[in-house]
């Protein structure tokens, strides 16, 4: 045990103190921050050049007023077209918008002419269409002698409010959404982490085999100890990196907001009208979401997710270690051998996504109790409060299977690390399983 710890320590320290690790750990969140800043910038600066458009409203529908994007300035001139064309030719306006006749109240389609040799941006077209659409609607309401408030009251927002019958847990409409988001994020993160650090274990095993230190090492420690030490060391590196990111990313995000004064609401590009109301609404939503988050069974979700992570990581990275031991310098060979490891991992993440939408579907339920799949699918289902017995079966089968996989990987590893020049086929690996020591 003492030697496993020594190996774990070396694997951990040699990685964590490495410049590349420090750089990637620090730069990744910075990269994210820059990404969001750039994204916000792009979103905000679609409109830069002011465009003057002259509007010839022959109908009076617009009532001398049209509001769309900030960079579009509308000038109302009820002049004949040829005079307007001369304005265009002088370069005073970029185009002419003409509403030649008013629509019929029952008319579903309404055509407005835009004269110009240059095209408007698609966003600009949409926003003008929308703005005119609003005016046409008002015009129709007036023509029908209808009150706008009554019309508005016809639109009703329907929300299904779930109520439990036996469980004394308070479920609201937001619960499902929050659970889905949390489940989805957890599932994807688990997939990513297992893949990333599992393949690091593989590369590290290959390195030891290629530079031949392996023989020195296993004349001092048992191959199994070496493998376990490596798996644990790399796993701890993963936890450290994620831990740093969990702290760093939100604080950098916060810092970025402070320094660059990015208005988060602006990034979401709320419509100008009724902005204050929307913000209030948003704040309300955030408070509700926070309440939902608080309402989740964190004392159950967090430790169980961690347990699933560890079991899944151990099972997969032991398999990666076995593959690493079986191949030599040939990375292509490694790729074909990792396929069977990747497949359950990829299936698991897709089943996880479907489990977000239908957490109680039989696919999700059975997958969350099938080892190798369960380490990702069950954590996705955890926020939806799956029955206790399913968690028990899932955990028990995963633990047993993980022990079996680690044992199996250890058997392959112990033979593989000393095997040079032999092509590692699955048949060959199968034979190694049954080699005597």
């Amino acid at each position: 045990m003492g030697k496993i710890w020594l190996i774990t320590q070396r694997e951990y320290l040699s990685r964590v103190l490495n410049k590349t690790f420090i750089l990637t750990t620090l730069l990744t969140p910075l990269g994210f921050m820059i990404f969001f800043i750039v994204l916000g910038f792009i979103m905000n600066t679609g409109s830069d050049k002011v465009k003057n458009i002259v509007v010839a409203d022959r109908t009076g529908i617009l009532e001398g007023e049209l509001k769309s994007r900030d960079n579009l300035v509308f000038d109302f001139k009820d002049l004949p077209l040829n005079q307007l064309f001369s304005l265009y030719e002088k370069g005073e306006v970029v185009g002419i918008l003409e509403l030649s006749s008013a629509p019929d109240t029952m008319q579903k389609k309404y055509i407005v002419q835009y004269y110009s040799d240059d095209q408007l941006g698609i966003d600009e077209i949409f926003s003008i269409e929308k703005a005119i659409g609003k005016k046409v609607r008002n015009f129709k309401l007036k023509a029908q002698k209808l009150d706008e408030n009554i019309i508005a009251s016809l639109d009703t927002e329907v929300t299904i409010e779930p109520k439990t019958i036996k469980k004394d847990k308070n479920i609201t409409s937001l619960t499902t959404i929050v659970s889905s988001v949390i489940g989805g994020i957890v599932g994807y993160a688990l997939f990513f982490i297992i893949l990333l650090y599992g393949s690091q274990v593989m590369r590290s095993v290959m390195e030891e085999k290629i530079n031949r230190i392996i023989e020195v090492l296993i004349s001092s420690v048992k191959p199994f100890e070496l493998m376990m030490g490596k798996v644990m060391g790399v796993g701890l590196v993963g936890l450290t990196q994620i831990g740093i990111w969990i702290i760093l990313i939100p604080s950098l995000f916060f810092l970025g907001t402070m320094i660059f004064g990015i208005d988060l609401n602006a990034v979401q590009s709320l419509p100008a009208s009724g902005a204050a109301e929307e913000v209030l609404n948003q704040q309300d939503k955030i408070i509700q979401i926070l309440a939902e988050l608080k309402g989740l069974n964190w004392w159950k979700i967090l430790p169980l997710t961690l347990i699933y992570f560890f079991l899944g990581y151990f099972a997969y990275s032991a398999l990666f270690a076995a593959v690493g031991s079986a191949v030599g310098e040939d990375i292509n060979e490694a790729q074909s051998l990792t396929m069977p490891i990747m497949l359950p991992l990829i299936f698991a993440v897709y089943i996880g996504f479907s489990a977000v939408q239908a957490p109680d579907s039989s696919l999700a339920v059975y997958a969350s109790m099938t080892p190798l799949l369960s380490s990702i699918v069950m954590p996705v289902r955890l926020p939806f409060d799956p029955p206790f017995w399913q968690i028990i079966i899932s955990l028990a089968s995963l633990i047993i299977f993980t022990i079996f996989l680690v044992w199996m990987a250890g058997r392959i590893y112990r033979v593989g690390i000393l095997m040079y020049g032999k092509k590692a086929s699955f048949k060959e690996l199968g034979k190694w399983l049954f080699y005597k020591d």
Binding site: N211, I214, E215, S219
Partner: protein
């Protein structure tokens, strides 16, 4: 004398061939023992069994009289033929790690390593990365890693391959010094000239089997072919020497190589030569080199 390592009837089979077939030998305390054989003879298989990297199918191994067990690797220092170190790790860190794996506590490891590195005049490399060192330098580091935990048995697999003569001598001197301190050394090689120089006892294996073993001098005696070499002055013509209980094999550069019949004594030969007016400057018995014995035995064994 007490044996540090004792192998009794070791057999190791792989699925389609026998790598080691009933091999027994003893390495006594404070001696250098040669494990010889051509490539693929089963030397590495034997070493891996002794270092507990693999296990034998049959037979027993005793270390200091005890059956081989899990703590014994700490009493063994092993330098494999294919050297290997972590390329990106610093020399000092790496040596401390390897020593710790052999059971040395950190402080003791550091202190002992400092002594060794001073001895090899490489203390300034402590913070250098292995990848920055030349191959010969890496060999020195590897040697220190093998011996720092003061094992009672050191196994060296082709320790001089890739070393320049200066560094080879340095390592050779250290091997002798360790032997003087009572360390036993198992020296595996196919380079015979080194064996003659270094080893007291040897075992020669081929195709997993023992071909011969014993004391180096005794082996050479038992394989001698009554060859004598004579360096002389004067004698234009060898015809006058013929027909007397010996054969002339070669006459080159004033040196005769003669094979005596079994009933002819060297004294009689000398007498005869002098009678023929030869002035003898040098006279010695030519013992077969281990290399010759090795090649002959292996060829016989394979044929």
């Amino acid at each position: 004398m007490e044996s540090v390592l004792s192998l009794q009837g070791i057999v190791k089979k792989y699925h389609n061939h026998v790598a080691v077939n009933n091999i027994s030998f003893e390495v006594e305390k404070g001696t250098i023992f040669g494990l010889l054989g051509p490539n693929g003879a089963g030397k590495t298989s034997l070493i891996r069994i002794i270092t507990r990297i693999t296990a034998a199918d049959e037979g027993t191994i005793l270390i200091n009289g005890e059956k081989l067990h899990g703590l014994h690797p700490e009493k063994i220092g092993y330098m494999p033929e294919e050297r290997g170190l972590y390329k990106k790790m610093k020399v000092g860190e790496q040596l401390i790690y390897l020593a710790q794996l052999k059971g040395l506590p950190y402080r003791e490891a550091k202190q002992k390593l400092t002594v060794w590195m001073k001895k090899f005049d490489i203390l300034t490399w402590w913070d250098k990365k292995i990848s920055d060192l030349s191959k010969g330098m890496q060999q020195k580091v590897q040697f220190i890693a093998t011996v720092v935990h003061e094992p009672s048995l050191i196994i060296l697999d082709e320790p001089f391959s890739g070393l320049d003569p200066i560094n080879a001598n340095l390592i050779k001197d250290e091997i002798f010094a360790l032997k003087e301190k009572g360390t036993s050394i198992l020296f595996s090689t196919h380079r015979m000239e080194q064996v003659e120089e270094i080893c007291e006892k040897i075992i020669l294996v081929n195709n997993g089997q023992k071909i011969l073993d014993g004391n180096v001098q005794q082996i050479k005696q038992s394989f001698k072919e009554n060859l004598f070499s004579v360096k002389y002055e004067g004698l234009p013509d060898t015809s006058s020497l013929e027909g007397f209980g010996y054969k002339i094999i070669e006459n080159k550069n004033n040196t005769l190589l003669l094979k005596l019949d079994s009933d002819t004594s060297p004294n009689n030969l000398l007498k005869k030569l002098m009678e023929n007016g030869l002035e003898i400057h040098h006279f010695n018995e030519v013992l077969p080199s281990l290399n010759d014995i090795f090649i002959k035995q292996v060829e016989q064994n394979n044929g």
